[in-house]
Structure formats: C-alpha cells, structure tokens
Amino acid sequence: MLTSSMKQQWFGNIRGDVLSGIVVALALIPEAIAFSIIAGVDPMVGLYASFCIAVTIAFVGGRPGMISAATGAMALLMVTLVAEHGLEYLLATTILTGILQFILGVFKLARFMKFIPKSVMVGFVNALAIMIFTSQLQHFENEGWIVYVLVAATLGIIYLFPYINKTIPSTLVAIIVMSIVVVSMGIDVRNVGSMGELTQTLPIFALPDIPLNFETLAIIFPYAAALTIVGLLESLLTASIVDDFTDTESDKNQESRGQGIANVVSGFFGGMAGCAMIGQSVINVKSGGRGRLSALVAGVTLMFLIIALGNIVVQIPMAALAGVMIMVSISTFDWGSIRNLHKVPATDASVMIVTVLTVVITHNLAYGVLAGVVLSMIFFAVKISKVRVLSLYMNEGQKRIYYVQGQLFFASVTEFQEAIEFNESDLVKEVVIDLSESHLWDDSAIGALDSVEAKFEQKGIDVTFIGLNGESQRLLNKLGGVSKSSGH
C-alpha cells in the first residue's frame, strides 16, 4: 500500500534525507546521553529511546522531516520518578504515556492544543531552557577550576566552528576535541563512563518488571499525564515550525498517534519517553532533510555509531556534555520574548512570567503550562466581562431605554445589574433593554434578565427585551425564564 504521496514522503528526496539524517544522528548522540543523565538513568536508556522513537516516527509520524527522540523537556519530568521508584517504573510510564498520546490522537484532540495560549507556549520554551541550564550545574560541583575551563572551551568550539564549516555539527567537533584533550592530557574529570554503563548491544523487547496493580498505576499515572501533555505540546509546536519552514501542511492528529506508538515501542525496548525536538528538526530541514527517510537514517546511524564506537563514547568528559547542554539551553530560550516584553500586553507578559516561575519553583513543566492556561483564562474572563450600559429617557420621561454592549455571562452579570437603575421616579412606566450589541451565554445571563424583570415588575414597570441575536434567543427559549420577552 505505497501510495504516490507516501512514496514522495519516503523517497522524494533521498540524497538530502540521507545526508541530513547522518548530521542529525551525530548531533543527537551527545544530547541523548546528556538527557539520560538529567533523568538519572544510564546513557543507554536515552540512546535506545532516540533510536526507537526516531525509527518508529519515520513510519507512523504525521510530519515528515521532523526529528523525534529523547528530549530535555521529557527528561526533566522524569527526575523524581526515577529517583524514587527506579528505571522499571519509568519504562512503564513511557508505555502509558504512549497509550495516552495515541488515544488523544485517535479522538482528534490535537486541535485542543490551540487552547494553550501563545504566551504559555513561550513561557514553556523559556522555562525548558532554564531547567536544562540549571540541570547542568551539578557537573561543576566537586571538580575544581578545570571544569570551567573545559566547559568554556567546549562552548568556544561550538560557537566558533561554524565559521569554518557549517555542515559538520559543531557540537560533535567540540565533543571529539574535548575528549581527545582530556584523555591525552590525563585530566582527571568525570566522564560518561562514570555516569553509567554503555552496553553496545541492540535494544531488546522486554516487559517492564513492575507489579501490575492499582498502586503502580497511581504512581505512574500523574507522570504519564504530564509527559503526555508536554510531549504533544512540544511535538505539535515543532510540527508547526517544520510546516512553516518547508511551507507544507502536516497531519497533527496522525502525529499525536505516531508519538504515542513511538513511546510505546520505546518503553518496551528499554527507552525513556521522548517527543519531537525543535533544535534537531531545524538542523534537519536546514541540512536539506524533508522526508521520512531522514528520521529513519538518523535513528539507524545513531545506533550503529553507538554499537561501533561505544567504548570511545564512555571517554567523553561530562564537562563537554555540559557545554553542549548549555548551548542547547541558550538556543532553546526565546530571546525575542525578552526583547518584546515591554511591547506585548501586560497580561500576556505576566502569563509568560508566571509559567516560567511555576516551572522553576515546582521543577515540573506540566504545572507551568497548567498555571499559565488558568491565568490566561482568568485574564480573558476579566477582559471579556466588561459590560457597557447606556440609557436615555423617551416620551417625556415615561420610557427609559438601556443599550447593553458586551457579553452577558457568569462573570459579567453583576456589572450589568449594577448599571440598571431600579429606583425610578414614578413617571417611568416602561423600560426597554436593547441587547442587540450583546450576547447571552449561560444560565447566569438568563437569570440576570429574570431578576431585572422581576424587580421592575414589583414597581409596576413593564420591561421589554429587544434585539436578541439568534443564539441568545435560543438559549433564552431553552432555559425558559423570561416568558414574555420572546418575540421582537
């Protein structure tokens, strides 16, 4: 069942995809190792995850040309789980995350991601950058001044090497140079080998070794829920960036299902949960990658290099990886959001800052997103609950007309009722409330109209509501309430 578009997605750009896939694999290795260390697991867990996810996504993803693997955002969410319960629970959580993401994709819930406001997205990205940076600080402890020199040298190579050659990833060059320097000069610093074993074997299928009971579910579900949200958030954001760069469309629901399948596969083969990577995807499309083949080549090359060169990889000094992670953190941070901070509306700026602060305090990206979304909703409700009521007298003071502008719903009815003058002089016999520039949204709005009508009737004043739009009228009819106001 290889349709022509599938053929295009796989083999439409073979040379570009193979080359960019190799470039991405080289850039992925240091990151996969570093993210494993952030999560507190052996480097192999991140490398297996990157291999499984990249390869699986190549087949089932919705956005060709996008790179998914073990990521910092996901690793940061796993830290406490791994510390308290260990690797087996992480694998089970990864599988559950995949199942949840698949379900969201099947029910086409990806579109609900648009309910996450832009300022929360920016806050998420900035918080992620800060968390990646702070997670590196542990590598400076108990190592003396030499570590600072090594990290500075790594960063120097990363930022200056592109002036000499742009094709070879400068992070890889930095890692190789620093490893050679440390090994040949016999500098005594921690390396990848001291953080965990590198087994140089292909991942094998295994069920996580955990008791299958409710207690386990209670432990892993909160982590899986957070991983699901953050994983889809970053994946769909990355998909939009790749859409934009390549000027093509992608299927966001298929991508959600694909991310799910990839995480299930990763969990069964001893890998941690992952998602799409903004940085790597940009590297991929910039290096000419467009099709599914690029992700496949990236995954396979990564695994091949680890199996072939594993005993060299353990020699990589942690200082070099810390340098790479600091670069990742600097490029992840959305610096434009700081420059524009004084230009954007104060509410947007505060949502962004609250998102970042929540993450920095709770060390959980999912809480940050939640806090940001809730705060945005409150701001939105406040903004939209502004109601303007104007009034004028007619027929020599016997009739008073109110013009209502704005949305009538639970948050705005109080303001609406306060604007209406109930203690009219005896002269007024009739009140008309013109709702043609308003909209009734809920039970509270209907209740408010009822109570306005009741209060006037106590004084023997007739009330008429006019100008209701169709939807408001239907709501009014459905919820009963003001009987005689229908019509007009």
Binding site: K118, V122, L237, S240, D244, F245, T246, V282, K286, G336
Partner: protein
C-alpha cells in the same frame, strides 16, 4: 531596459535603500516597471515567528502584512509591485527562484558588513552575484 525586476529583501533598512535606488534607476519609464519583492524565511526565522504568532498560517499572514507597506510604497510611486515569500536558506533559495524566472535584473541590498565579517560569514549578495544568471545589482 529593466522592466521586470526581482528585489531580494530581508525586510531591513538596507533592502529598503535598494528599493529607493531601483526607483531612481527606472524613473523615466517607471509606469512599465514591475518589481517583485522576494523574501526568504530560514529555519531560525521560522522558529521565532511560529513561537511569536502561534502557528504557520498566522506567521505567513504576518509576513505578508509586514511587506504590505513596502508594496504600497512602491505602488504609490507608480510602479507595479508584488511580494513573494519563499522558504529555505536565503541565498540558495533566492538563487534557484531567480534563475527559474525571466527577470531583467536582480537587485539586492548589501548588509554593509566589513571585510573581515564578509570573509568568514559569506554574504547573500555575494552569492547572488556569483550564481544568478541575470544581471545583479548590489546596492551599498
């Protein structure tokens, strides 16, 4: 006579200066001239714009809006104008696009980097001069 002009723009002041030079150059017969302003979006710009505007569609719309005033500026002077937005590495994408169309000339503003910066960074205008098959004018 240059009547069909491609103007490679990055939206900067240097590019706008190139527009003014073009207007001076074709002034005698300006009512026959059509300027196509071409802008290439690269990977980092995509990331920045999608983050700022939420999704790819909105980002595309905002980019069109950004160049709307440029188009109006040119049209006010009595020339025809349109904006084309490309996606990819600026130099390579612009060269490919320029060579596919039949233009009388390609105009580009120079960023005004010094010699050392140009030596190590390379420059879009330099690459255009070298690889575009039409006359290329670099405005300093």
């Amino acid at each position: 006579m240059f009547t069909k002009i491609l103007l490679a723009s990055d939206g900067s002041d240097h590019s706008n200066r190139a527009i003014d030079e073009a207007l001076k150059m074709v002034d005698p017969y300006k009512d026959q001239v059509h300027i196509e302003v071409v802008y290439a979006v690269d990977g980092d710009q995509s990331k920045k714009d999608v983050l700022q505007y939420g999704d790819s569609d909105t980002a595309s719309l905002k980019r069109k809006e950004k160049f709307q005033s440029t188009i109006e500026y040119i049209e006010d002077k009595g020339l025809g104008a349109e904006i084309t937005i490309l996606h990819g590495q600026p130099a390579e994408t612009l060269i490919e696009y320029a060579n596919e169309g039949d233009y009388d000339c390609v105009l580009v503003g120079s960023r005004g980097r010094n010699k050392f910066q140009t030596l190590i960074l390379g420059s879009v205008s330099h690459k255009l001069v070298k690889y575009v098959n039409h006359p290329v004018i670099v405005v300093k």
